[in-house]
């Protein structure tokens, strides 16, 4: 059953990508070429800039701000991914009376999060979260 699901998902992923691709090829190229809808010309193909000729190429050396957010995102994403297996080990969370472990699991994740919260606080203080 388990193997079946995985291979099924695999098929779904392929279908998911193939379908819009095929649809686009079929409709955008096939249909439009057959019906003669595809009549590009220089003015039509000009990138849209509110009706004026673009003054400059669009691809320029761009902003540094997004970069920092992306870095922070990866770090927090890794953190979340560490949390997930921990959260699923429900033994961690049995009430204290049924277990000898005495809140060990919660305390562990608390320490983990506190250390990372320092990171967030540092970023906050350093102005890394400001959109200057």
């Amino acid at each position: 059953m388990y193997e079946l699901q995985v291979s099924q998902i695999f098929i779904f992923v392929i279908v998911g990508f193939a379908l819009p691709a095929l649809g686009m090829i079929g409709l955008a190229w096939g249909l439009q070429n057959v019906l003669g809808y595809h009549t590009p010309n220089p003015i039509k193909n000009q990138p849209y800039e509110c009706g004026m000729k673009p003054l400059q190429e669009a691809i320029v050396q761009f902003d540094v701000r997004y970069y920092l957010y992306a870095l922070l995102f990866i770090l927090f994403d890794i953190e979340v991914i560490f949390i997930i297996p921990w959260a699923l080990a429900t033994d961690n969370l049995k009430n204290i009376f049924g277990q000898e472990a005495l809140l060990l699991g919660p305390l562990e994740i608390l320490v983990f999060l506190i250390i990372l919260t320092f990171g967030l606080a540092y970023a906050w203080k350093k102005g890394a979260l400001e959109w200057e």
Partner: protein, 207 residues
């Protein structure tokens, strides 16, 4: 309503093998695309395919957790960081490089040879690294595990994290903290004030 035949087909491993070769071919093609594409940003975007393929391989190995983490962190996060970082590069530099190449091709033979050595050096290092890793993998005798994988293997990881590996788990957070501080230090480096040249007037009727 049992799925007799489809399941049989899958469990024979034929489909699995086919899927493996398909994904592996995809990942390798795309990674070659990544290193050979002239346009760095497009090369960055191709990374999503490479990481996606690797994630597919993990899926086939039934390591769903790692496969999905691969998608979330690498295929999305790392790709975005790489692409955004590449947008910080100057697109005009590529054209300049092409010009430099054109100049280089008119140089004397000896210089050209030295240049080719210089340019080939990173490739050489990569090859050496690849061969080393390959040899290491081949020299190890890998046993085939007969253990079946439980459906709650993520919970198993979680349990391990709280019992046997709780210290590494905490260290992971310290590592993340260090990485975070490092990232902020790098990106928020002291800014030197621009000495801006006065703006040239834009012709209002220029087109």
């Amino acid at each position: 309503m049992e799925f007799v035949n489809v399941q049989e087909l899958v469990s024979t491993g034929v489909a699995e093998a086919l899927a493996f070769y398909f994904i592996a071919a995809l990942a390798i093609t795309l990674s070659i695309g990544v290193i050979s594409d002239k346009n760095v940003i497009r090369a960055g975007f191709l990374l999503i395919g490479v990481f996606g393929g690797i994630s597919g391989l993990f899926f086939l190995l039934q390591a769903q957790f790692i496969a999905l983490a691969q998608v979330m962190i690498y295929a999305v996060g790392i790709t975005l960081v790489v692409v955004i970082a590449l947008m910080l590069t100057n697109p005009r530099l590529q054209n300049e490089e092409a010009e430099e190449e054109a100049i280089a091709s008119s140089e004397p033979a000896l210089l050209k040879f030295l240049d080719s050595i210089r340019n080939g050096f990173p490739g050489l290092v990569a090859w050496i690294a690849f061969v080393t890793v390959y040899m290491a993998i081949r020299s190890e005798h890998w046993e085939q595990s007969t253990q079946t994988i439980g459906e709650d293997n993520i919970a198993v990881i979680g349990r391990a994290l709280t019992t046997d590996y709780s210290l590494p788990f905490e260290f992971a957070s310290v590592l993340l903290l260090a990485a975070l501080i490092g990232a902020i230090m790098l990106a928020k480096a002291e800014k030197v004030e621009d000495t801006d040249t006065p703006r040239e007037g834009i012709e209002s009727g220029s087109n």
